[in-house]
């Protein structure tokens, strides 16, 4: 956009000559040349600025609409339906169309919050500390409650005291690793997700 330093008369003449509305009112086609103005001539699509485009899938429901993610300098700048998809052909429903707002929502958590037993407030803690503490607690509870055999000698090799809930919003690879580590590695049996919700 340029700054307009001209006189009011010149501005009016420029308005009548250049702006699209007066020309459309004079009968020029609103679908053709009269849709343009000197301002619109200079407009560029925002997506042109993207330095990265990726293929994605809507994070909400299981219809599986495909999306295109556009980013510039590591920041997401746009999300839209992927026109190639045989499922959504570029369309998205109100939830899918909110994906950009969901990801760039300033209210999102960015730090680990910790609430100590009987605490009344959240405390912010370093990610590394939290990971160490969680590993310690997981091991402690597992070790204290692990059962190798039932009284009749049947091997069970499990803990009934650690549970995991969730998975339907996650990737297949994540579900795989949860089941592998929690069940195959630690012997947890209470592993469930939204499939029964």
């Amino acid at each position: 956009m340029t700054v307009n330093r001209r006189t009011p008369g010149k501005r009016l003449r420029s308005f009548l000559r250049d702006w699209s509305l007066p020309r459309q009112m004079r009968g020029e086609s609103h679908k053709g040349a009269a849709a343009r103005s000197s301002a619109s001539e200079q407009l560029r699509p925002r997506l042109e600025e993207a330095d990265k485009v990726g293929t994605s899938i809507c994070p909400y429901c299981a219809v599986g609409c495909a999306q295109l993610f556009y980013a510039k300098e590591g920041q997401l700048i746009h999300v839209e339906g992927d026109p190639r998809s045989p499922i959504n052909q570029g369309t998205l429903c109100p939830k899918g169309a909110a994906t950009f707002s969901l990801i760039s929502n300033p209210d999102r958590l960015t730090k680990v919050k910790y609430r100590r037993p009987h605490g009344t407030e959240w405390e912010e803690v370093p990610l590394d500390w939290a990971m160490d503490r969680i590993a310690h607690l997981t091991k402690k509870t597992r070790d204290e409650t692990f059962v190798e055999t039932l009284p009749d000698g049947t091997q069970v090799n499990h803990t009934l005291s650690v549970a995991s809930l969730g998975g339907a919003t996650l990737d297949n690879e994540e579900n795989y690793l949860i089941k592998k580590v929690f069940s195959g590695g630690l012997g947890m049996v209470w592993i469930e997700n939204q499939a029964r919700v």
Binding site: Y60, L109, L127, Q155
Partner: protein, 846 residues
């Protein structure tokens, strides 16, 4: 069926789903079918936008679906509308069942085999005459002391007994006739409240649009699954579709419309207690044959059909998990797999937490305070845990119940009283992490990592991987046998970048499977072996990464407008990229398409193989006239004929009658919901005799006919919100579109209690009370039953106290009650009371 295949249907019945609002983009294909002349029907308690766009709306009482579908089955049988050539040849319609079998309809609502003492069924009389038919994943033979596998060996000796004339009194056809004889249009009207004329229109349209030349589709969602009879509702639909010949054919089938983006993936690769990846059973300590791996294999391997390959899949899985540390000498690490000892589903978990059995918990992208049944019980339990890890994108209710929850607000507890140590950790979303989702029609679709999640957000892959690394370090010096699984667990994924993000493609390569120890990708599950020479994380997904640099989930080549429309180049569908399951059934027994109009698969005699624009869900070179050589006691696929398309079944046939796999009956029969205001009009047995009720002080259920809870309550979802509401209530766009909780009540009830639109009302059940705004509407029709006028009330369950769009939690009202087969709750049909006003005068709002 693929969602886009709905456009090829000649009739679509949407039932147990509000598809237009909850799966809007999939509903486009229904609309495309309608534009081409298809009849669209909606059977549902609520009149929604799905109804508005349908040709017929059949209003039914919540929870009466089996009566409606049973009525359709009877209509098909009585009017001789069965697609006989299909159902006799491809299903067990002609099969003869044990002579001692008795239908529930002739036995006060109980099938033969009811064991009052054990309060469960014995399954002997549900078997084929003289032949035990096993089912993958069935828990049936828990009580069978002797080897169950011996009993199923007759499958090697010859085909099941049948009577193709359908005259034998115990053939499935005659059993069906008896079981559904009472489901007359008049009875359908009496039980469901749907006018019989409307019911008949639906039945007639489905039948008219089925046959060699036409196909009909049925779409369902949680409106069917959320019942104590949910599995049998889906079975009833499968029976209708099998009788009409609508499975495995273009525009035909049953489409499950599932909720979360990868709910299907997390079922296939289950974060579920009773299965291992690819629908392999998690060993159960109470199965006598599960003590040793060889017995487990013997018992779980079905002699005939595709599941005969079971040993290859389980051995490859154990190799993938434990690498070189396992082999025949230590049962491939079988004993390291934890054995289940009962129901460890979410409902049972809710109680186990409250009872103090569970002490530590991970919540990975799930918000049970909103989505779990009996929400106050859920909250109380979370407050009894020693520790809780919550990983999500927002501060969800399940993370801050200790300061904003019901118990604190009602002063039942103070935060200081709650001892749970809580970690609330930021998670990443698709686009910030790479990986695959599996959509509702089995399509595995990759998403790229385009940006990084903000601050300390990490993927669950990162979390579990780095937690496992830490645990491995902590256990590194342990000599204990019980610590060997975690020590030996393979974790060979490349981790990259400053965050050390594990590579999702490495995990997907393992899921696909490779040779061991060379790690050369296998092209499909057909290459898997039972000797430890292959490792595979989920046999069913094999083929998604057939070569080291070929990620088929990322393939994005749709068919053009003139293409066949199977879109084989768009992502990868399990199994083996097949888009229509059991598609051999789209050809007649001789291998010719049933009609040109419904052509999908055909036998090419010249080439000696099956042809199709789809991948063929059958042995590619088995001719239609192949017959098993019974003298050789054939195993696996050799025991299925070239005209038996249902290859996952031991007899290659669709199971109209299901001899095993179900705990509540081999056929559906109408039971009332556990919390129902009416007596079962069909038989003495009121509700499912095996429903899981868990009635106890903190999960009270009322007796039948309790005048305090006279109305039917159903819960449901809205277009603009998603499940527990985390990704929509706190997002301005969606919150603004649907800003506040409400409940739908009919005008007549509103008048009775003196309430106008938007006034406050209180809904109550034995579990609790919620207050919300009244949306007075005629959309939920009252119904008459046995001279009584009964109202139906509906409440969306997305809301909670966090975010911009808030409201009371509907699940405060619901009960921990479940389907015997699936442990699915019953939040689509229960009872409640409604009164004007609010619960409390001043209320701490956020």
């Amino acid at each position: 069926m693929a969602q886009w295949d709905l456009a090829n249907a000649d009739a679509v019945l949407v039932m147990g789903s509000n598809m237009a609002e909850n799966h809007p983009i999939a509903f486009r294909f229904v609309m495309q079918a309608k534009e081409k002349g298809a009849v669209v029907m909606h059977a549902d308690p609520r009149f929604t936008r799905t109804s508005a766009l349908s040709d017929i709306h059949a209003p039914i009482r919540a929870g009466s679906d089996i009566a409606f579908l049973g009525g359709i089955i009877r209509y098909i049988l009585e009017n001789d509308l069965v697609f006989k050539e299909y159902a006799v040849r491809y299903a067990n319609l002609a099969t003869i069942i044990d002579e001692n079998f008795i239908e529930a309809a002739r036995n006060e609502g109980l099938f033969s085999g009811w064991n009052e003492e054990k309060h469960s069924y014995d399954f002997d009389t549900w078997q084929y005459q003289g032949m035990v038919i096993p089912s993958a994943l069935a828990e049936h033979y828990l009580d069978t002391a002797e080897s169950y596998s011996e009993m199923t060996k007759r499958l090697h000796e010859g085909p099941p007994p049948d009577d193709p004339t359908l005259q034998h009194p115990n053939c499935v056809y005659q059993i069906l006739k008896r079981q559904y004889a009472d489901y007359t249009p008049e009875m359908v009207e009496r039980v469901t409240g749907c006018p019989k004329e409307t019911f008949l229109k639906v039945a007639e349209a489905l039948a008219r649009n089925s046959g060699p030349d036409r196909t009909a589709a049925i779409c369902y969602a949680v409106g069917w699954t959320h019942h104590t009879t949910g599995v049998q509702m889906i079975r009833a639909a499968a029976i209708v579709q099998t009788l009409l010949g609508n499975i495995g054919r273009p525009g035909g089938g049953i489409l499950a419309l599932r909720g979360h983006t990868s709910i299907q993936g997390s079922t296939d690769i289950p974060t579920l207690y009773n299965m291992l990846p690819g629908y392999l059973p998690q060993p159960n300590a109470f199965k006598p044959q599960a003590r040793h791996f060889d017995q487990f294999l013997d018992d779980e391997t079905i002699p005939t059909g595709w599941w005969h390959n079971f040993p290859k899949y389980i051995t490859s899985l154990l190799r993938a998990w434990y690498g070189d540390s396992v082999g025949p000498e230590n049962e491939w690490g079988y004993q390291w797999l934890p054995k289940i000892v009962g129901d460890h589903s979410q409902l049972a978990m809710t109680l186990a937490i409250d009872d103090g059995l569970i002490k530590g918990m991970f919540l990975l992208g799930q918000n049970p305070v909103i989505g779990g049944s009996n929400s106050k019980l859920v909250e109380r339990g979370l407050g009894r845990l020693d520790w809780l890890v919550v990983r999500d994108t927002d501060e969800i209710e399940s993370a801050n119940f200790w300061r904003k929850g019901h118990l604190v607000q009602s002063a039942e507890r103070r935060p200081e009283d709650i001892g749970t140590e809580i970690f609330l950790m930021p998670g990443e979303l698709a686009g910030e992490k790479a990986g695959t989702f599996t959509n509702t029609h089995r399509l595995i679709q990759w998403h790229d990592r385009v940006v990084e999640g903000p601050g300390d957000s990490r993927s669950e892959l990162w979390f579990v991987y780095h937690l496992a690394k830490r645990l491995k370090a902590l256990y590194a010096n342990s000599e204990l046998e019980r610590d060997r699984p975690i020590r030996n667990l393979t974790l060979d994924y490349r981790a990259e970048g400053p965050r050390e993000e594990p590579r999702a493609d490495d995990v997907l390569r393992e899921i696909n499977g490779y040779t061991w120890p060379e790690k050369k990708q296998v092209a499909s599950f057909k290459e898997l072996k039972a000797d430890g020479s292959t490792a595979c994380g989920c046999w069913l997904y094999s083929g998604v990464y057939p070569e080291d640099d070929d990620n088929r989930a990322r393939s994005r080549i749709p068919d053009g407008p003139d293409g066949p429309g199977t879109h084989l180049g768009w992502a990868f569908a399990w199994p083996a990229n097949r888009r229509t399951l059991y598609n051999r059934a789209s050809a007649d027994p001789d291998g010719k398409p049933w009609s040109e109009r419904k052509r999908l698969v055909w036998w090419d005699e010249a080439e000696g193989k099956w042809q199709s624009p789809d991948e063929i869900d059958f042995e590619p070179e088995k001719p239609p006239h192949y017959r098993p050589d019974w003298d050789k006691k054939p195993e696996g696929m050799d025991a299925l004929g070239g005209d038996e398309p249902f290859i996952m079944m031991p007899d290659g046939r669709s199971q109209i009658f299901s001899p095993s796999g179900l705990k509540d009956g081999p056929l559906p029969t109408h039971y009332e919901p556990v919390q129902s205001p009416v007596r079962n009009p069909l038989h003495a047995q009121q509700d499912s005799p095996v429903a899981k009720k868990w009635a106890r002080e903190d999960n009270p259920l009322h007796a039948l006919g309790d005048p305090r809870f006279p109305h039917v309550l159903t819960t449901y979802r809205l277009t603009e919100h998603h499940s527990g509401g985390t990704p929509t209530r706190g997002v301005p766009h969606t919150a603004e579109l649907q800003p506040e909780g409400f409940a739908e009540i009919p005008p007549e009830l509103a008048r009775q209690i003196g309430v106008r639109n938007l006034d406050w009302i209180v809904l109550s059940t034995p579990r609790g009370e919620v207050e919300t705004r009244a949306l007075v509407t005629e959309r939920l029709k009252p119904f008459e039953i046995d001279g009584r006028h009964i109202f139906q009330v509906g409440m969306p369950w997305h809301f909670g106290w966090e975010g911009y769009a808030t409201g009371d939690i509907a699940n405060v009202l619901t009960a921990v009650v479940g389907d015997a087969n699936s442990s699915m709750h019953e939040n689509k049909a229960l009872t409640c009371d409604v009164r004007a006003g609010r619960i409390r005068r001043s209320r701490h709002r956020r």
